[in-house]
């Protein structure tokens, strides 16, 4: 261990406290209070917006300087989407898309 047990435990404790505080924050702020209509409105449209952002988050590392740095991700995302639009089977789309990506990064590029 690079540091003492006490320091390690303190780092863990602070991490737990901070991440728990954020996960609980909305629930603590509105505990026993009416949720404002604006927040209800934003909350209703957040899933679609956040899922979009998360997809960009996943591919944030791509660069367009070499094909190997963007093609596997872009092709596999397109394959996943196409498979899902075609068969509407969540598990099939995810497994198929992942297999496609693994093939591309391990064999093709």
């Amino acid at each position: 261990m690079p540091i003492s047990v006490t320091h390690s435990l303190l780092i863990i404790a602070v991490t737990v406290l901070c991440s728990l505080a954020e996960r609980w924050l909305p629930f603590l702020v509105f505990h026993g209070r009416e949720i404002p209509p604006l927040l209800r409105y934003v909350g209703a449209f957040l899933p679609m917006a956040v899922m979009t952002t998360l997809v960009f988050y996943c591919v944030r590392g791509i660069s367009f300087s070499a094909a190997a740095e963007w093609a596997p991700q872009v092709i596999a995302v397109a394959a996943t989407a196409a498979l899902h639009l075609w068969r509407r089977n969540m598990l099939l789309s995810i497994l198929g898309g992942t297999a496609c990506y693994m093939l591309l990064v391990q064999v093709v590029f």
């Binding site: 780092i11 863990i12 997809v55 991700q73 995810i94 693994m102």
Partner: protein, 233 residues
């Protein structure tokens, strides 16, 4: 209950696949630093956050100051606030379970929950709880496995982490097809691309989410009536 368990087990398979390489690799790294399986069990079960736990490796290696730890964790975890807002009403209606559910609400659980059909009456408190707990269990178990037996895994798992991206893509498509308008996705895409171009991949997430919420607020005259229509129907 049995139905909810079966449903959750099936739905959470992609999360298990995605957690496997990430969890095992983290366990191996912890083990290499001298933090064995009990440490992995402690951290994974209480912190339960992939990106935060990878960052903790650096905290341990550098013996980071607690103030640095606090600021970094708060910044990295800030998207949690948006996840909570999405399920504020639903989880609140589950009474004291809201505290457990909001703890379990990581990226992957959030996307699985977003993929639940709101019209399906079989989906209730136990579905959310079991799905969330399964994700928590997979993550904790895989990290401990990594510390105990990581070196025994020899097949090439390069690229298997794409399962998460695929999960997010699929849930996004489901949302686009069931939502009353795809404008929220357009707003989020525009602010993501803009923030990626201006800020770069490391810090784009929080500004992009804030910009998206601002965009949603501005679009309320357009989207608000659509929501009211949908709720009335």
């Amino acid at each position: 209950m049995k139905k909810a368990l079966r449903f959750s087990l099936r739905r959470s398979i992609p999360v298990a696949i995605g957690y496997f390489p990430l969890g095992v690799a983290w366990g191996i790294l912890m083990q290499q630093m001298g933090y064995g399986a009990p440490w992995c069990l402690l951290v994974s079960s209480t912190v339960f956050g992939g990106s935060i736990q990878y960052l903790m490796l650096e905290f341990f290696a550098a013996g980071a100051a607690l103030s640095t730890v606090a600021v970094t964790v708060l910044l990295l975890g800030s998207r949690q606030i948006f996840y909570g807002l999405t399920f504020l009403e639903k989880f609140r209606s589950y009474g004291k379970w809201q505290w457990l559910l909001s703890f379990l609400l990581v990226d992957e659980a959030y996307s699985l929950f977003c993929g639940f059909d709101p019209k399906d009456e079989d989906i209730g408190k136990s579905t959310y709880l079991i799905t969330g707990l399964l994700g928590w269990f997979y993550w904790t178990a895989f990290t401990v496995l990594g510390a105990l037996a990581g070196r025994l895994i020899t097949f090439d798992t390069t690229g298997i982490d794409f399962a998460m991206t695929a999960l997010f893509v699929v849930i996004l498509i489901e949302r686009l097809q069931s939502g009353p308008s795809c404008l929220p996705a357009v707003i989020a895409a525009a602010s993501s691309v803009g923030c990626l171009a201006l800020i770069g991949p490391d810090g784009f997430l929080l500004p992009s989410l804030l910009l998206t919420v601002a965009g949603l607020v501005l679009a309320r005259p357009v989207l608000g009536p659509l929501l009211a229509q949908k709720e009335a129907s």
